[in-house]
């Protein structure tokens, strides 16, 4: 059981990472990001459940809550970029250029 959980977690995490790294649209990247956070929560929760300890559940729950808050903030940021007249893509965010 735990082997299944770990392999699914690894595969999903890598897919999320690929989405973040390869996609250009901010929203698509955001989806990848959410997927990565959820994968972390999955690994935590499942391991806690399989080992029979309640603390891991708590951690997974907190991760889920933080991810929800982050989702709100991230979506708002994307909307802000869009409302400032720029396309919601990575190329339009260049203010950090050194």
């Amino acid at each position: 059981m735990s082997g299944v959980v770990w392999s699914v977690s690894a595969a999903l995490f890598l897919l999320g990472l690929a989405g973040v790294a390869l996609r250009r649209q901010l929203l698509a990247m955001f989806l990848g990001l959410e997927l990565m956070v959820l994968t972390a929560a999955l690994a935590l929760g499942c391991t806690a459940s399989l080992s029979g300890r309640g603390e891991g559940f708590v951690a997974a729950l907190l991760v889920l809550a933080v991810a929800a808050a982050e989702a709100v903030v991230g979506l708002v940021l994307i909307l802000r970029v869009r409302s400032s007249g720029r396309p919601a893509e990575t190329q339009s965010l260049r203010e950090l250029k050194g």
Binding site: L93, K97, G98
Partner: protein
Amino acid sequence: MSSLPPAALLLFLAPLAALAAAFFIMRPWKPQWTHVPILISCGVVTAAAAYLAAMVYTGRGADVTLYTWMFAGKWSVPFGVRIDGIGVSVLCMVALVGALIQLYSVGYMKGDPGFSRFIMLLHLFYLSMIGLLVSNNYVQFYLFWELVGACSYFLIGFWSHKEAARKAAMQAFLTLRLADFGLMLAVLLIIVQFRDTHFALFHAVRFFPSMYHPLIGLLILWAAAGKSALFPLYFWLPDAMEGPTPVSALMHAATMVTAGIFLLVRSWPLISAVPGLPGLIAVVGAVTAIFAAVLAFTQTDLKRILAYSTVSHLGLMAFAVGLGQITAAVFHLVTHGFFKATLFLCAGNIAHASGKSAVSVSEVGGLWRRMPLTFAAFAIAAFSLAGIWPCAGFFSKDAILDAAFERGGWAWAAGLAIAAASAAYIFRMLFLTFFGPRPEQSPARSLHEAPPVMAVPVAFLALGALAVGWAREDLVAMLFCGRQSAVAAPSLPELAPKVAAAGLGLAALAAGVVFALTMGAPSWDWHWRRRRPGLAAAFAGDLGWRRVVAGFVARTLRVADVVGRVWDHETWDAAIEKTATACRALSRGGSAMASGGLSESLWWLMIGAAALLAWAGLR
């Protein structure tokens, strides 16, 4: 260790006080009176030298270390005074001749804008030479040796508005640097090997050759060859004639070129222990003497003739040293100082009278009527130089010829050749300058006898050139008084009638032949020069040796250019510039990395995280 005689201190204190007074009081106040303290100091030094000579003559030498300059472990650099026969005999000559020359230069340089500077430099020169003569160790000797070289540089280039003078000064300085480097290496090797630089060590202990020993001897010979204008390095001396005549007189007679011979004599215990080195010195001396005598015979400038004659005589002294006759060498050094100073000052009289710094034989002639005193002095000195009895040169030269005769073979032949050649060139000069005038010569009408301040020193020096040789026995006795050497210097041989007759006969023969050549109906001296311009040019170029030297210098310069400019440019500068370029490229790359793009930042983030994970995993 006997205590230091106060007179030895006076040798340093008087010139230093005089220089200080001249510089701080006389020069700002009355520059034309700068010579007053300096002449007083000359008198004091001469008197002190005479006192020291008397002291040594009565068998009381001294070798005192005044204080230790610096020390490291067993090794130290002391500053001391050594009063012994060799040093004092030369010291007496240097003090007296130098003092007379300085008196003369007061008259010669009167009215020159740089008078006070000149007289002070002259005195510093004098002081350095005296310090060199009474040094008691090699490091102190080297210090004064360099001071002498520096003073000669300032004085040769004294008329710095003349390009030739500047060039000659530079040439002399660089040549001397080359030689002084040899002495420096020699001193360093002596320190490495013996841990002591006192002359006393070498005079007191008979030691055996070791690894560095031949090298030290060769380096000392090299240094002496530079300072004393021996064969490979002699060329700076004739060019040094660009300075004022008293400088030439001082350099040639007393303070400069004799230092090299003096070094050889001082280092004799060291040199004589190296097999073959004395023979090499003899060969170098003989070659120099004959070569320079031939060149002196072909020169036309009065001072250049005398310069080559000095080179020739220095060669003769080195010849004597090489034959083991250091006594004869020192004796000749002393007599040479007197007659050469006389000759130079006579040439200076002529130059002063004609208002030029360089006088050619074609511009003078028949001077004996107009300048009788100069003529008399010159004639005595010339007789002395040619080795005619009873002048001083006869005795010293005869001693050297005796040594050559005893050696036999090539040495005897070389000695006779030197005797004949030196008589030939000096009589040629005497005839051309004072006899005649010949139709080829055009002496100015205005030539006149020198003023008393210049005539008196010349007269005294001529007296010395005549009479110093009579004190032969006393001088030789003095050489062996004072501090004794373990290596016994051979005493002067008795006058051998056969040798004296051979020398005198050859000199007389040469004089007669030269009279015929110069004063005969078609003057041969001008004849060959006109007929064979190529030959004249070859003699003017020292038979090609100057070209060899110039080629060597040019090649050295090229190497220096490659090392100093090209190589430096290609390596160090390039390294520095490449560093800057690399930094710029690095910063460009770095700033390109900070593109501000979200994806790029993310990629770096991922690479970093992967690296951290890999590191953690590998641990």
